[in-house]
Assembly symmetry: C2
Homo-oligomer: 473 residues x 2
């Protein structure tokens, strides 16, 4: 590899624009082709979440590129979940017992624009919009594009091609269609789809419900969530089965049914969504899929990065964070000064794949947790104890959520293994009445709980290790 | 659904021919199209294992169709594994402590011919050979075929289409390409491929090594296995990485290297394979992949069954057995007299999918066990105890292998969950010195071991349940 290598990046979304910026900062010649129009001059939100959760792993990667402070200007901190029951009653659950740990609601468009602006400040970066990639000749590193406006088709040759072109990646499709190697690939859909709605700002342009929370209306088989926007509105997302249960996307076809559904299940939310009928009927219903694949690279020629290599469901709020962390990990591999792109690509996948597999699985776990467990008594007891432990022993206890979200120096895989074992330990200690669950525990009592949870967690990890259970997958 | 419905089955392999036979026995009109020539009149073994392991789940399905006794005439019982170390020393390990539990080596061709013969005895079955399915129009249930001999292309319309067309299923590919529904799909390859070789019969036409065993040469990162054939020969299979380790399929390109590899690793096997060089160079190297997908059916029109819906790696000897068991489970659903094919297809997948997912995962477990663990001291200790438990308490103890292989009334998923928990219990009890591992245990000592293993297994299952770990996939 060589600083003069011409690098082609397909896709100028969040991952592609951060990657372009970082490679430019390292001195590479970078050309970026994006299928959509420039979002800084066109309003294009169709089909993509308007706001996203930005947390420590994403911030770590932004910091690497000198973009953390600029991004924070667009952030709305969310300190916990606010659950709404079917009668409109609410209760809150913090994300952490440590005060400095929170996640941020941020506009996808604002953040992407920020990264594009910064990337374009570099002379060694060129970004082309409205150029859709059709296929990639991976052997000869030639990408085939079509210009959306002129309809002209053309080819771009590069020394190395990065596919940061998202869940529907054309580079990944070329891996499948060219059949040059054994390509492991999975696409797994939930039975649930999603639809976005809006709670507008009130007349003063401020938020109608707490903007310091991620709001959840958990209903067991389905749920509604809401994240705040800077203009006082909330983006609301309904997660619902396509075809199962009394209400589902297939049978909610009339305005009456839609209203009846919301009146029964989400009366307080319904009162805040004035255009419910129009939005429900006109906004698209999107699928929720997980994509995993391997290998991510072909020889010294091409690499999948971001969602193109590991699309995940949104329930851990880690999609963007995982893709940003890809750029961080890739940059660490570049620091090793390996001789060839092939060596870099292989070292990158080796360092990264077990972590992106883990966050994909964690996001599915959290789907069940959010729509169901968060309102369950035993789960609430567990969260109460965890908040106390994190508050009183801030350097000694980290819940699974904290490990995944706020401990950016631990990989997702380690966070998953330790977090799952810890959850199992806590739930079993509670179920067996082996630890106190009284509402007001003394520090001494809590310390006993901490030691028992730590001991039990370590024993679970040790027993799994002896049984060779970490070898699976 | 209706007895007069015209049923089209794509693929007359083991699953397709058994399915055709069973549907014919139930009185349906069945047409079967197979891409290969008739194996009863042509020699076609290319690319497929010559012999397979037939065990209780497969026999259960054959029994349903009245074919068990005829199949048993072609069976060679294998009572255990015979391990060969790098110096040619051997030790054996039975599959079960119960004398009546063994698996059978059987010729794929013989068994398939038997099923084709039986199916064709029914007037309501027609089987067409040399007709390759290209695509299926799933909405209109029309399959597009090409005749290999005449090159003629033609269309066949049916009321219902079954795709029993194996891992490369054209019906499954049509599910993907028609994009009529969200199709979850995965193909996962091991880094290992396989190559078949042959140990011929000796001059008297009998077996040169024990025909009562499945032979294994475990070497950690790779292995050789051999299954007996009725003509005195063995079919030998080498499982080896494509590109990792000192020796792999990519670097074993010269006759010298091939011989050096076998001399170092498999000297006793080398002495028995006279045509090693020719066979190694001329026989194809095949990939080892797992395929899962969902849904298996489309409306009341089409269904995937057998390998087309769940191709697995061969290490549990359950590929054919799982496909035969599909036919058994499908037949049970037909007994429910549901009104529509759609209801039948959905009930079938609901009853079956968690079991085929489980055997896919178990087969990967066994890949690691066979190439590696079988020769490990702690694993050998565990197997010794399990054999004793099964021998002394034949109605109370069943190893994971027995649950999967010999307990055809328990689904694969239950066998996996119970078997994995039991393995974990045993390995941890041995590691913690909580149970005696002396070579000669009294019945009283063994009974204590049995109770401890049962208690610990139940506790593991209970703890997993409390932690909600069974909700994951």
């Amino acid at each position: 590899m060589n600083k003069k290598d011409k690098i082609l990046i397909i896709g100028a979304g969040l991952c592609g624009s951060l990657l372009a910026l970082r490679l430019a900062q390292r001195g590479f010649e970078v050309e970026v082709y994006e299928s959509r129009p420039d979002l800084r001059t066109t309003n294009i939100s169709a089909g993509r979440s308007i706001n996203l959760a930005l947390s420590d792993r994403g911030l770590k990667a932004l910091r690497l590129c000198g973009m953390e402070e600029k991004a924070r200007e667009f952030c709305i901190p969310m300190f916990g979940r606010l659950m709404h029951d079917a009668h409109g009653k609410t209760f809150s659950s913090n994300y952490s017992g440590r005060e400095n740990e929170f996640i941020n609601s941020i506009s996808r468009g604002n953040l992407n624009a920020l990264l594009l602006d910064e990337a374009e400040k570099h002379d060694n970066v060129t970004i082309h919009f409205n150029k859709q990639c059709r296929t990639v000749d991976i052997e000869n590193t030639v990408a085939h594009f079509k210009d959306y406006q002129t309809k002209e088709e053309f080819f771009v040759h590069a020394d190395v091609i990065f596919g940061s072109d998202g869940a529907g990646s054309s580079l990944r499709k070329s891996y499948i269609s060219e059949r040059k190697f054994l390509f492991s690939y999975s696409q797994n859909y939930l039975n649930h789809g999603y639809k976005e709605l809006e709670i507008p700002a009130n007349k003063m342009g401020t938020h109608q419900i707490s903007k310091e929370h991620l709001h959840i209306w958990p209903r067991g088989d389905f749920m509604l969530i809401a994240l705040p926007n800077m203009d006082g509105s909330f983006t609301v997302t309904l997660f619902l089965s396509y075809d199962e249960g009394e209400f589902n996307f297939e049978n909610l076809t009339s305005e009456d049914k839609i209203t009846a559904f919301f009146e029964k299940e989400f009366p307080d939310a319904l009162a805040l969504i004035p255009n419910i009928k129009e939005e429900f009927i006109n906004n698209p219903t999107g699928p929720l899929g997980t994509i995993k694949c391997s290998p991510w690279s072909y020889k010294n020629k091409t690499l999948l990065i971001g969602d193109s290599s590991h699309a995940i469901v949104p329930f851990y709020g880690q999609g963007m964070n995982a893709s940003f962390e890809d750029v961080f990990v890739f940059d660490e591999i570049l620091n090793q000064n390996l001789e060839t792109w092939e060596a870099v690509f292989k070292a990158y996948q080796k360092a990264r794949k077990h972590d992106t597999d883990a966050i994909a699985d964690l996001a599915i776990d959290n789907f069940h947790e959010m729509k169901d467990h968060v309102a369950n008594p035993i789960f609430k007891e567990k969260r109460k104890i965890e908040m106390d432990l994190e508050k009183i022993f801030p350097t000694q206890y980290f819940s699974k959520y904290s490990l995944v979200t706020f401990n950016e120096n631990i990989g997702y895989n380690e966070a998953m293994n330790r977090g799952r074992a810890q959850d199992k330990a806590l739930l079993n200690l509670i179920a067996d009445n082996d630890i106190s669950t009284s509402l007001e525990m003394s520090i001494e009592e809590l310390e006993i709980v901490l030691r028992k949870v730590q001991e039990e967690t370590n024993e679970i990890l040790q027993e799994d290790k002896i049984a060779g259970m970490n070898e699976r997958n």
